[in-house]
């Protein structure tokens, strides 16, 4: 399978603190790749480096065939990014938000209008299209954010904790959408700290203290560590890491 993200020996240091320590992994086209870990494990730092928002201290990153050090602009044009923070304009409507972000990715005129209504249909947001984002419930706002990140049809999208704070039903719906997107050939890299969501991913990377603690398919990982659920897996890994530290 074609590899769209390749990371080798990635390191990021902030002063004396090593946030990301020697990561090596790759992501195949159309895959849902889950980046898991407790808060502060280095998930967001990793995603930010992959998106070109943060310069790595050392290592090699290739995204969509472009080098993160020398071709950050090409990378930006071929990825979609949904930030951990809420990142829509609350005083604009759903329609206007999508249009605005489509516009800054170079869509305009008929093409922009078409793509906007396409996304509104695809995400089933027709009844909300002229509602100001500030009056939408959080689950719906996250759907709009996801739609916005896909406005320029990027081959890869990065979702940084897209479901944090969202209720279980909305989370379920959100993951169905992600699944749908991946079936269309878009690669999805997603971070989360909900262990039940890990089951939905094709491949998992569990980070503890900036390092890879486990990497593989959910079922493989479970049988390898002889656990029943993702939650148990995570707890056993965390316990090991604490034992190592002591």
């Amino acid at each position: 399978m074609k590899r769209v993200i390749e990371v080798e020996n990635l390191v990021k240091q902030f002063g004396n603190f090593t946030a990301v320590n020697n990561l090596t992994f790759s992501v195949a086209k159309g895959e849902i790749f889950g980046l898991l870990g407790a808060n502060g494990a280095g998930k967001t730092t990793t995603i930010r480096m992959l998106c070109g928002l943060l310069l790595p201290t050392s290592g090699k990153i290739t995204v969509a065939g472009y080098d993160a050090f020398t071709q950050p602009e090409q990378i930006r044009a071929s990825i979609g990014y949904m930030s951990q923070k809420f990142s829509l304009y609350s005083d604009l409507t759903v329609w206007e938000n999508i249009r605005f972000f489509g516009g800054i990715y170079g869509l305009w005129g008929r093409e922009l209008k078409l793509r906007t209504s396409e996304l509104v249909d695809e995400f089933k947001m027709n009844e909300f299209r002229d509602v100001m984002v500030e009056s939408l419930p959080l689950g719906w706002r996250q759907r709009v954010s996801l739609a916005v990140s896909m406005v320029h049809k990027p081959p890869i999208i990065f979702l940084d904790e897209p479901t944090s704070g969202v209720d279980p039903i909305a989370r379920r719906m959100f993951w169905e959408t992600i699944h749908h997107i991946s079936l269309q050939g878009t690669t999805v890299m997603v971070t989360t700290h909900y262990m039940d969501e890990a089951e939905y991913c094709h491949t998992l990377l569990i980070m503890v203290d900036g390092m890879i603690q486990a990497l593989g398919k959910p079922d493989e990982l479970k049988s390898k560590h002889a656990v029943e659920s993702m939650n148990e897996l995570f707890l056993s890994l965390a316990r090991n890491s604490n034992a190592n530290m002591m």
Binding site: C51, L53, S83, Q84, K85, S87, F101, I104, W108
Partner: protein
């Protein structure tokens, strides 16, 4: 396509402003109100101030003098006092702001070319008013005594005539119209841009914008353009109001005035951008703008308090205050009607400051991206 992206960005920015009624009120209506308040409330001219007279002469000329003062338009005679003790009472009751004491034999002393004695006592609990009233009274009395001194036998004497050049009528509009303009431009351009940029940071939208193909300078420029439009609207409104309501003459070249104003708008914008790179939230940006921009603009720019009267340290401090230079250039062009060569120093200083702020902002913005 690149223009399309950019126009799209600018139009979004306009939507933000137009939908936020409060911001819109601040940037468009407040300047008008502020100018009217400064115009009608802060006035350095004093008319019809109450005064009282303690006259020890009660002769022809002393009465003439009192009449002259009362008819000057500046003073309103509240009455005569009977003893020195009553003076303090008059001040304390608020009956008089100024008391004129006329010594005995005023008439005879003046006629005989001797010194006629009088005293001006003012209520200096408001020192500015006291000062102005004392000097008004002084100048009326001076001209009165000059006329009646040794009447009939003119003598060679020094006759002082002061003229208030460029503002013969001592209109305070000459002070507050340029001052308000500086204040408003500082507020609208520097403060509003710094707040609107930090808002994107606070909301998290800045991150998404930085990942997009838009270049950082396009983002900043797109955020700033609507405020440039608003700033020019403010300049136009303030100048028009100055001319029509406050009869302020624009003696200099209008093009030069617009040029210097544009330079200051650019300066204020670069300062606003710098503040936005230094602050992480809208509240911090607001706080920094208030203390770093508004207070110095009011206190140290020479808008209300003359720079020449400040302690040396504050005078030096005022040198690094952008509004000081703009205010000085504005007054030179609007009121004195001078050309570019007379505001060259101000223009160069403002250019230098703008360059420094822009360079600092670029450095700071890059650091943030690392």
């Amino acid at each position: 396509m690149a223009q399309g992206r950019f126009l799209n960005f600018v139009s979004k920015e306009f939507k933000h402003i137009l939908r936020d009624t409060r911001t819109l009120l601040i940037v468009l209506v407040m300047p008008v109100i502020q100018l009217l308040i400064f115009g009608f409330v802060i006035s350095s001219e004093i008319k019809n101030a109450d005064y009282a007279v303690l006259d020890y002469s009660h002769d022809y000329l002393s009465k003439q003098l009192v009449q002259r003062i009362s008819s000057s338009g500046y003073f309103n005679l509240k009455g005569y006092l009977n003893s020195f003790k009553e003076i303090e009472k008059a001040f304390k009751n608020g009956d008089a702001k100024l008391v004129l004491v006329i010594g005995s034999h005023f008439d005879r002393k003046l006629q005989n070319n001797r010194y006629a004695e009088y005293q001006i006592i003012t209520d200096a609990s408001d020192p500015n008013t006291a000062n102005i009233l004392a000097s008004y009274a002084q100048s009326i009395i001076n001209s009165f005594t000059a006329e009646h001194h040794a009447a009939g036998q003119p003598r060679a004497r020094v006759n002082i005539q002061s003229r208030m050049l460029y503002n013969e009528e001592m209109k305070s509009a000459f002070m507050f119209v340029p001052g308000t303009m500086v204040l408003i431009l500082m507020l609208v351009t520097a403060m509003m841009t710094s707040i609107s940029i930090t808002r994107e940071k606070e909301l998290g939208t800045m991150e998404v914008l930085l990942i997009s193909p838009l270049k950082p300078w396009q983002i900043v420029l797109g955020k700033v353009i609507p405020y440039i439009g608003i700033a020019f609207t403010n300049v136009t409104v303030i100048i028009l109001m100055g001319i029509t309501i406050f009869h302020l003459p624009i003696r200099g070249n209008l093009l030069l005035l617009v040029g210097v104003s544009s330079l200051f708008i650019l300066l204020a914008l670069s300062l606003g951008i710098l503040i936005s790179t230094l602050s992480s939230s809208q509240a911090v940006a607001m706080f920094m703008s208030m203390f770093a921009l508004m207070l110095p603009t009011i206190l140290l720019s020479g808008f209300i308090f003359p720079i020449e009267n400040m302690p040396q340290l504050l005078q030096w401090l005022s040198l690094i205050m952008p509004p000081r230079w703009f205010l000085s250039a504005l007054k030179t062009i609007m009121i004195k009607g001078q050309g570019l060569q007379y505001v060259l120093k101000e223009v160069l200083v403002m250019l230098l400051m703008t360059t420094i702020f822009i360079i600092l902002s670029i450095k700071k913005f890059k650091v943030r991206l690392e």
